[in-house]
């Protein structure tokens, strides 16, 4: 989905597709960033018994607060993490962001292990992560807002860091740097062993934190979401490639094994069943909600891949193969371009569905083409 694997300007519904792509890519980067901190915390603190728990799906303060992550180091110290790609300098946006951060200023209980046990650390700080393209502007605007509205400034420290994906040398990586301006907060992590103190590395030494893909990909593959609501296209794609296959019967799979994998199989389900599957089995503890799944099923219905039957659904599931017309060409069959990537295809089907158009589906041959046949060898 990140970038169409087909070439050229071929979008037939540019605005619709562009919107879905942007949403998809931004959320995926959010998942990356949370996975970076998740992996860093697990490697550096949990595995060395210097940290208790990274909560990827925190729900704090009577379940009303949903920061992007929390890190509980010990009974003395914790960090609440909030990711904001950018902060617009309009007063409304600043007030909203400041109010959100202020809510994290209350006495918070952090999840301390996978069983749900919670601990209220003596101190917690608030980590605000901004994309490097907008970080300085956002941090200055927020600080100015607090200067004008002193009662809105949290008592606990707010530490502003920037993140970006660096491709500058042979090894691509995410970099996280603490912004070096006078009013930026400090991590009050003095109770941690000196060699594991974040403030010493990120603040005093001004050393950027770096996470290469090899460090976080396993975490990303397992956890797949973050605490924000996923855009419907992202949730739909994950349902298609990760969740629906687990609902297939052996008999349904045998049909594909023997014949074409594009033959549709009907999967009866409900948004409640999918919510339970996701939150209890696939990513235990994740905060994917029933109404978000309902939206994804509506998305599939628009895309022609699901049908509502009263309160239940039937997903019309199969491998996807389709073609789309290159822009400016309407009749020439030879100009049709193959699509093979689920995110792109689901987006295309949805955007065409919105306009009442049917996608150009392809049927895969029932029998695999015998590759490099023995018959040709002799």
């Amino acid at each position: 989905m990140v970038m169409s694997i087909s070439n050229g300007d071929t979008d037939t519904h540019p605005d619709c597709l562009k919107k879905l792509r942007v949403e998809f890519n931004n959320y995926d980067q959010l998942v990356d960033v949370v996975s970076c901190w998740h992996s860093f915390f697990d490697f550096s603190y949990v595995r060395t018994n210097a940290g208790l728990y990274f909560d990827r799906f925190p729900s704090m303060g009577d379940n009303e607060l949903k920061p992007d992550f929390s890190m509980l180091f010990d009974n003395d110290y914790g960090i609440v993490g909030e990711i904001a790609r950018s902060i617009d300098s309009s007063e409304d946006v600043l007030a909203s962001k400041a109010a959100q951060l202020k809510r994290y200023d209350s006495d918070l209980r952090f999840k301390a292990d996978g069983s749900g046990r919670t601990v209220q650390p003596k101190i917690h700080d608030i980590l605000l992560l901004l994309h490097s393209d907008y970080s300085n502007k956002g941090a200055i605007a927020l600080n100015d807002f607090w200067e004008r509205n002193k009662d809105m400034r949290p008592r606990n420290n707010v530490v502003v860091m920037e993140y970006n994906f660096s491709t500058g040398d042979a090894q691509c990586k995410y970099l996280f740097k603490k912004l070096l301006y006078e009013k930026n907060g400090v991590f009050r992590d003095e109770t941690l062993p000196v060699h594991l103190q974040l403030e010493r590395k990120l603040g005093v030494e001004a050393a950027p934190l770096k996470l290469a893909p090899k460090h976080f990909v396993s975490c990303k593959a397992v956890n797949i979401f973050c605490n924000d609501k996923p855009p419907t296209i992202y949730l739909a794609t994950r349902l298609w490639d990760r969740i629906f296959p687990t609902l297939l019967t052996e008999e349904q799979m045998r049909v594909w094994r023997k014949g074409s994998s594009t033959k549709v199989q009907r999967i009866p389900t409900t948004s409640r069943d999918l919510e339970l599957l996701l939150t209890q089995q696939v990513v235990p503890g994740c905060t994917i909600r029933k109404d978000w799944i309902e939206e994804a099923l509506e998305f599939f219905a628009t895309a022609g891949r699901a049908q509502r039957n009263g309160s239940t659904w039937e997903v019309l599931y199969s491998n996807l193969r389709m073609k789309k017309r290159k822009s400016g060409v309407t009749e020439d069959e030879a100009s049709l371009e193959k699509m093979r990537e689920y995110g792109d295809m689901l987006a295309e089907m949805y955007c065409q569905g919105l306009k009442g158009q049917a996608p150009i589906l392809e049927e895969e041959p029932a029998e695999d083409v015998v590759q490099r046949s023995l018959l040709d060898f002799e």
């Binding site: 989905m1 990140v2 970038m3 694997i5 995926d28 490697f43 550096s44 491709t167 042979a170 090894q171 691509c172 970099l175 060699h195 030494e205 050393a207 950027p208 934190l209 770096k210 996470l211 290469a212 893909p213 090899k214 460090h215 990909v217 396993s218 593959a221 397992v222 956890n223 994950r238 298609w240 490639d241 990760r242 296959p245 687990t246 297939l248 799979m253 045998r254 594909w256 094994r257 023997k258 994998s261 089995q281 696939v282 990513v283 235990p284 491998n319 093979r340 990537e341 689920y342 995110g343 792109d344 895969e364 695999d368 083409v369 490099r372 046949s373 023995l374 018959l375 060898f377 002799e378």
Partner: protein
Amino acid sequence: MVNRSSGAGYGLDKLVVPGQDLGLSNLLALLRDSFSREYKGKLSAVIFTSEEEPIGVLRGCCDEEYTIESDGQQEFSPIRLTRKMEGSESQEAQTLAGTFYVVRIGEGMWVSVTIEPDEFIEKAMIRFFELCSPGISRMRYSSSEIRKLLDSFVETHELEAKVRKAITYPYGGGASIDFDNKPLVQLFDECTSGRRYLDKIRIEFFRADKSLCDAFVSRQGILRFYSGDIDFFFKKLLSLFAGVARDTKLILEKRERRMGELTASPLAIQFEEDVLVTADDNNRFVRSLSSLEKSGISVYHQNPYVHLSFLDFRDGSSCDVFAVSPRSICIVPSYRSSIESLMRLSNRILESLGEGQLSDWGEAAPDFGDFFV
């Protein structure tokens, strides 16, 4: 493809019919007698894995199209397979039938042996095995594995090797090139210099100018004996390839995630050189996986690192695939993960990018200091 500790052989020297002093030399005679017809001059062996007795798995896969007959009383019983293919607009109805033996060659490792023609092997026997995934998984070999094994084989047994015919392909796709009558070393040197991989090879081994064995090996895990010393073929050559297949099985098996748990057992493919450097490299890589039959992908990230989800419609296996550096790929299997599917995927990755070794991910855990610039 596999990070091997040794090229030691594996158990085929114990291949005997239970209760009889019947060595490998008699296998061909047994096959001839069983088939009651003229021996066509080649014997084919397909290496596969199965945790259960294969006959039980095969019976479970039968339907109106595929049927098997076997008395199943002996460990070494012939299996008669019939495939009735329905006709279509482009193809007439056809029935393929033939007989093969299944022989245990180690824990969870088996070889099917037959003298039937290629059409039966490809369109009936192998196709039937594929339908039985994940119960049965065929093994495959990389070009570099075949090279290492053949080099070591020639050296260990003090042989000379002459390539009678070989078929190679360029990495990333393209037309095949056939090589005829070349020394083994020259074939592989030309593969390396032309960035091509070996797909199949017919090779004749000599000792003191006397032909010892005329054999065939393919990436698809098919070995073949044409002429010479059949004991040598089974006990030495097939045994060597079975050993590597066992190593591959040990790496690929039991990788499934468990529902309700947040743990994974990732695999790595490490390449000998930088293969994913530019955005075009990544695009080609994604395209090559997207074109694999009966499978689909979702791309979550494409540049500069690749993250895609791979779904295999042959048996429902799925995994996440990450290109994490120019010469390293990480595969994180999901809730269903068959050896067959991981072999199919990794084989396509190697064909697409170049020679690499499959291993446990096993990245050394970084410590706090490693995370800072």
